[in-house]
């Protein structure tokens, strides 16, 4: 018996075909739902989860060709395997279906042995594709994974207007030296989980983790409506989450931790850098350096969140920022306007 966890959709306007296909697939052990035309099928595919579509071509309202076109254009559905089942004649129809992204073409009446083999192979391919996607997701963010899927992998960058954030834990080396290694890793994991939540909750992407530090990008690879605001909100949330973590730590008799966050906005080059075999999504530009220096500066002024003038200007009317005046960072000739963001 096949894996009953797989759910298949049969789209066919013809009742006899629908009944027969459903029966054949159920006998193979699959769970099956049906749709009477292409429009209904698309609706179901968008609202429910299916592993495979068996698609008839000649249907009223929306035919199979139109369904294939719509699936191609749908980011979430473009990977859904489709087996066309049709009694349409002529090789050109088969070719057109394959060109529109169908995995396979079964001529009606469908031979049950052939059906079993083709459905099994399509689902196996899907399983492998899903596995790869999972893997990519684990090592990249959802946004980067989506970007990779959409435009493929290519080294090289593009200009984007975005906001960069650097954050790290104050005095982390001291903390690490004063406790067993597994406790340090556990603390790091908790810290990263909380920071990821706050950052991705605002549409940001954590693209680098180095020890206890992280770098996040707002506005790339996918555009954001208001990158500076999203970054500042994420920062405030991060501080709040650290406060909660500290409350928990103090109840366990552990020392509190503190973090510093630097944020800067500007033009940058975003893209995949590295080699064909090993690459990372990153950003290069003055704003990146600026954010790193602002983060370091939080130690000097003993304030948790610092932002640059460009970020501050983009915020517009935003309650709770304090100007700290121009600061000259090490190795920089120009002065930078620095603002502190109040925590809630």
């Amino acid at each position: 018996m096949a894996d009953a966890n797989f759910r298949l959709l049969v789209a066919d306007d013809n009742k006899v075909n629908r009944l027969l296909m459903t029966r054949s697939l159920e006998l193979l052990g699959y769970r099956v739902a049906t749709a009477e035309n292409g429009r209904i099928a698309l609706e179901m595919l968008r609202n429910e989860s299916f592993d495979l579509l068996l698609l008839d071509m000649a249907m009223p309202e929306m035919d199979g060709f139109q369904v294939l076109e719509q699936l191609c254009a749908d980011l979430r559905l473009r990977d859904l395997p489709v087996i066309v089942t049709s009694a349409l004649e002529g090789l050109d129809n088969v070719v057109r279906c394959i060109e529109l992204g169908a995995d396979d073409y079964l001529h009606k009446p469908v031979n049950p042995v052939l059906l079993k083999a083709r459905v099994g192979s399509s689902l196996e391919k899907k399983r492998l594709r899903d596995q790869t996607k999972e893997l990519v997701k684990r090592f990249a963010t959802t946004e980067v994974a989506q970007d990779l899927q959409q435009s493929g992998f290519a080294l090289g960058g593009r200009h984007v207007q975005g906001t960069v954030m650097f954050a790290d834990i104050r005095g982390f080396t001291t903390i690490a030296e004063s406790q067993p290694p597994d406790e340090t890793i556990e603390l790091l994991n908790t810290y990263y989980m909380l920071m990821f939540d706050a950052i991705s909750g605002q549409g940001g992407v954590v693209n680098q983790m180095i020890g206890d530090g992280l770098m996040a990008i707002f506005g790339a690879p996918l555009p954001l409506a208001d990158p500076p605001l999203a970054a500042v909100k994420a920062a405030q949330e991060m501080i709040e989450l650290i406060d909660l973590l500290n409350a928990e730590r103090s109840s366990q008799g552990k020392a509190p931790i503190a973090i510093g966050i630097g944020i800067a906005t500007g033009q940058m080059i975003a893209g995949y850098a590295g080699t064909q075999a090993r690459a990372t999504y990153t950003c290069i530009g003055d704003a990146v350096n600026q954010a790193a220096r602002l983060e370091a500066h939080t130690k000097v002024v003993q304030l948790p969140i610092l932002i640059d003038g460009a970020t501050h200007a983009a915020l517009g009317v935003f309650p709770g920022t304090t100007p700290l005046g121009p600061v000259q960072f090490k190795g920089k000739s120009v002065f930078v306007d620095v603002f502190s963001v109040d925590t809630k």
Partner: protein, 111 residues
């Protein structure tokens, strides 16, 4: 026409792979749907609408082949792939063959 009304091998294969009880159920749907398709074919023939004409013929072909009604399926196929015929002779013949198919299939399932 040398093809039989029902190709017994095809019909038995359908019964073997999906179950005799299910085939009875499937036939109910066929007997329910096919007269509608024949009517659609007539309407399209009268109005000269090629697309609906071909679609109806296509469905009749596809469903009839499923049960091994090769003659009926073949007649429908010719209509699907051709132009709309001037007179209704082909449609009359199609309906007459459908009547034979119904009789033969009923006998096969009750026998």
């Amino acid at each position: 026409m040398s093809a039989p009304t029902i190709d017994i091998a095809t019909f038995k294969e359908l019964q073997d792979s999906t179950g005799a009880d299910f085939v009875v159920e499937l036939l109910d749907a066929y007997f329910e749907e096919l007269p509608q398709m024949l009517a659609e074919l007539r309407t399209a023939h009268n109005s000269g609408a090629l697309e609906p004409f071909r679609r109806a013929a296509h469905s009749i072909k596809s469903n009839s082949y499923t049960f091994g009604a090769l003659t009926l399926g073949g007649m429908a196929r010719e209509l699907e792939l051709g132009e709309i015929p001037k007179d209704a002779a082909a449609l009359d013949a199609l309906e007459a063959e459908y009547a034979r198919v119904v009789a033969a299939l009923k006998e096969l399932t009750h026998g």
